[in-house]
């Protein structure tokens, strides 16, 4: 069984962690189909009433703290040499492939999270996965870090190659694999669909931006505001015939809508669609003139044009 733990709330800075919207974010994360949300003690203290301990992992500084916070499904603690109970995950940092051998020291631990291994894709990562599993036959969770821009790929490959647990964070906050990328990749490659409706990503994104005061890039995979904007003639024409021609998944799956943008690369299909959308009766014999004028205008402006600009432009040409 695939188990995904979200560590977003542990990756927030102190100020963000105390934001009034954190309880709502905590609740929404479960709707993405993940199994556990991990929180730390300060977050727990501030959202106590909202916490469902059955599917929440509490991060503690050292195992002696656990007795003050009973009832959680599991606890996680950076490995410090202390003995840990069975329900406690020992988190160990394995920075790169050369350090895998260090795992031999943790043979006796049955519940381990490996953090790091950023560079694994630069090597034979499948053999490395096998080595890791051979060294430790207990419950292993991988939390790849992203300094080599491959964390989401590694988390997915870990699952596809027989691993069962990964730890991720929304938008990869804190330098981890991105929750939304891993969830979507497993949905596409493994038909892992614990939650058919992923439109909750939009709410999570809005909350996350408010809490962290960070703007998600418009081309961020799965959640970026602009990923379903389409301008080029070939793509608009293809999508008009069948969305799946140029989209990996339906925009509605992640709560978004496709948007035809008029720009330098627009073709006749896009122009026709926009004219129809705004009920503009444009003479057929001046169509290529409109297309050429739009291209010139976009080059002059160095950008695509807005729908309002397009309407004004078309109406001006008619007059």
């Amino acid at each position: 069984m695939i188990k995904i733990t979200d560590v977003t709330l542990c990756s927030l800075n102190n100020e963000a962690a105390q934001n009034k919207n954190v309880p709502e974010l905590y609740g929404l994360l479960f709707k993405t189909g993940i199994n556990f949300v991990e929180i730390n003690v300060p977050v727990y203290e501030s959202i106590k009433e909202n916490v469902d301990k059955r599917n929440t992992i509490l991060r503690v500084q050292d195992p002696t703290e656990i007795k003050y916070y009973p009832g959680f499904s599991r606890y996680i603690c950076r490995h410090s040499g202390f003995f840990t109970r069975l329900e406690t995950i020992s988190e160990i940092q394995i920075n790169d492939i050369r350090e895998i051998k260090l795992m031999n020291k943790f043979n006796e631990y049955h519940n381990i999270r490996i953090v790091g291994l950023d560079d694994l894709l630069q090597h034979d990562y499948i053999s490395a996965f096998d080595r890791i599993k051979k060294i430790n036959s207990g419950a292993l969770e991988l939390c790849p870090q992203n300094s080599c821009y491959c964390a989401s790929a590694l988390a997915v490959e870990w699952i596809l190659n027989g691993g069962s647990s990964v730890a991720v964070s929304f938008s990869g906050n804190g330098g981890f694999a991105a929750l939304e990328e891993v969830v979507m990749a497993l949905r596409i490659t493994k038909r892992h669909k614990p939650n058919l409706d992923l439109s909750v990503f939009v709410q999570i994104k809005n909350l996350f931006e408010e809490i962290t005061e960070k703007k998600i890039l418009k081309n961020k995979p799965v959640i970026g505001n602009g990923i379903f904007d389409v301008e080029s003639g070939i793509h608009v024409d293809g999508i008009f015939k069948n969305g799946s021609n140029y989209e990996p998944f339906e925009p509605s799956v992640v709560g978004m809508k496709r948007k035809i943008v008029i720009g330098k690369h627009s073709g006749s299909t896009a122009i026709e669609m926009k004219l129809k959308e705004y009920n503009i009766n444009f003479p057929d014999n001046r169509f290529s003139e409109l297309l050429a004028s739009i291209q010139e205008e976009c080059i002059r402006l160095r950008r695509s044009i807005t729908d309002q600009e397009f309407v004004a432009f078309a109406k001006e040409l008619i007059q």
Binding site: Q122, C148, I227, N245, Y246, H265
Partner: protein
Amino acid sequence: MKEKKYLTDTTLRDGEQSPGFAFNIAEKARLAQLMDEAGIYQIEAGVPAMGKHEKDAICKIVSNKKNARISTWNRIIKEDILHSFDCCPDIIHISAPVSYVHIYSKLKKNKVWLQKSLQDCVSLALDKGYTVTVGMEDASRADITFIISIANIMKDMGVAGIRFADTVGVLTPFRTYQAISEIINNTGISVGIHAHNDLGMAVANSLEAAKAGADFIDTTLFGIGERAGNCDLNHFISVADKLFDISPGYAAAMSLKEYAGEILFK
């Protein structure tokens, strides 16, 4: 000794197709010049069939170039190839949709039509003395035996290489490795990878393709491109530099990013 790999930068084609970007001739020429100076092997300069402005920009890039090879992007339409002739590029790249969803649902044609149209366009460009590469559009959702069959025909015709395009960005690293290996093992043709970042795996997939034997890697500056973009040039260099002999090196790529950023985001 590290294995040699070559970058094909498509900022000026796939990158610019991303809504919000619209370069003028001077900007396209300057960006190409910066890439050339940085040591990019191949610059995909644009789509001549778009019209006079695009053709003027490509002609300027061709006349300014020092070391880079300049390529143009074409559909499997003869008129597109004729437009490319007007620009005198080093390489004519012809893109052929190879997945059934693209052949039957987008083009509303069939495999026989596709093969014949592609052969006609390739012959047209080869007969004129051009180096030709062929893009396998939507290859990640296509039947691998069909890709291999087309690749073998292309190789026999004298095509310099094929490009495996993950058009909708659904590949994972292992699947990328498998597909690229299978094509190389069954054809011996030179292969390039064109990755999209829809699942955040463009860098990982490009790296795996290179490990599997792909010689050419498509990138864009800042990873711009359709939807979630393409393989980010700087990100790729930062992870591939250790494994492969690749140009530009890390420092030159960072410098290119800095200067290009002033044009892309001014």
